[in-house]
Assembly symmetry: C2
DNA sequence: ATAATTATTTAGATTAGTCTAAAAATATAT
DNA sequence: ATATATTTTTAGACTAATCTAAATAATTAT
């Protein structure tokens, strides 16, 4: 039986190895898990004993195929629950993340299969992230960070990189949501802040905002 | 912060004190929790330190008002989730109990409020048990065990005492569900088995079945 | 009312996950 | 290439929830 803590470490390893080097550092993992490096070392050892992770002392950790399968399944559950909360229970996109962190650990294959059917097999969660299918396949759509976007082109908003409620509320306050039309007007060379037209309204956003908003060319 | 284990002990104390003496014995609690008496003693002490329970050594345990509030809230969540699973996700009444045991521990007031709205404020779960309202009020309807029913009267099935999947599947196999019409034909003096007409079909049920089926006089 | 039985508590150990502090390995800078 | 800094691991301790075995209290039977 896999514990809740093990699941959370596996998920963290998965996410970290997606957004950086394949091998995840002990310190990075500890940071992501809000624990100390020594705790992470212990858990890494345990995961490798259970054959969820590959571990060579001092060389970081990667997930085994089993570990990856577990991670993707948790992510599938997390994202399906987010869709449920937003579409059926009137939650907003900035409210669902923490709650989905609880719901993703509920163990029942039938539950998740039926939830998927009930929601009509959604392909993306409320933040634009793809929902892995039953076989663990993930369809990535091409997307560009606003920070990489070109001046004078028109885009639509397809996702966020940071799904913290702080960032999402910032977007709410500026009327930006999935599907919003974003036009890049000007990039300020000094601080890389960007003037955009979001749903027709002029707005200046900082680099750190621009690095967290995903767009698709129209 | 209350732990999952504490919640489960509180729930067990609540159920035991409903169906027996107000003061719950250490052994009875240990049995219900599938642990040893010594573990129950430790937990009882912990619950009383946290002011969820009243405890006098050797005298059994009762819940404080706080403890009762917690228990009722868990039961409310459990039963709402059961309704959700049956009404929205095509689960059958014999499949939902264990899964609801997981879901009942999800912590979010908004989730449960919205689920209640989404389900249309149901008053009973799929086994006929009443769902406490937001204020913790429980409306009990009058009901009789089949074992207490009178010969030649007509009843409808309004609930079960044992909601194990084994018992519920027995009922499924005999076409009995909530709302079924039950007519008591004859009680066998020797072993107290009962001849009934269930939805028009003759059937003999044992005492142990009869003690787990709740009826309402028609 | 005393003995026998049963119920409950205490004492001490175990496991999972965490911590701090110290040791060891690796990486970086001069 | 050697010293310094950083990262990682090890050692030992702590808490929550559990266990077994022993001790104590309460109940029941004679």
């Amino acid at each position: 039986m896999i514990t809740l803590t093990e699941e959370n470490y596996i998920k963290a390893i998965y996410h970290l190895s997606k957004q950086g080097a394949e091998n995840v550092n002990t310190n990075a993992l500890a940071e992501a898990m809000n624990t100390k490096a020594s705790s992470a070392t212990d858990m890494i050892r345990k995961l490798s004993e259970k054959d969820y992770a590959n571990y060579k002392k001092y060389k970081g950790v990667t997930l085994t195929e089993t570990g990856k399968r577990i991670a993707i399944n948790i992510i599938r559950k997390h994202r399906l629950w987010e869709v449920f909360l937003v579409e059926k229970l009137n939650f907003t996109w900035d409210e669902v993340h923490e709650l989905a962190e609880q719901l993703e650990h509920i163990k029942s294959q039938k539950l998740i299969d039926e939830l998927d059917i009930f929601l009509g097999h959604p392909t993306h969660d409320p933040h634009g992230d793809p929902i892995p299918n039953k076989d663990g396949e993930i369809t990535y759509v091409e997307k560009t960070l606003l920070s990489q976007a070109q001046v004078n082109l028109r885009y639509s908003c397809v996702g966020v990189n940071d799904s913290s409620s702080e960032f999402l509320q910032y977007l709410n306050n500026n009327n930006i949501s999935l599907g919003s039309i974003i036009e890049v007007m000007h990039i300020e060379p000094f601080d890389k802040s960007i003037n955009i037209k979001a749903n027709g309204k002029l707005l200046t956003v900082s680099q750190s905002v621009a690095k967290n908003l995903y767009l698709k060319k129209l």
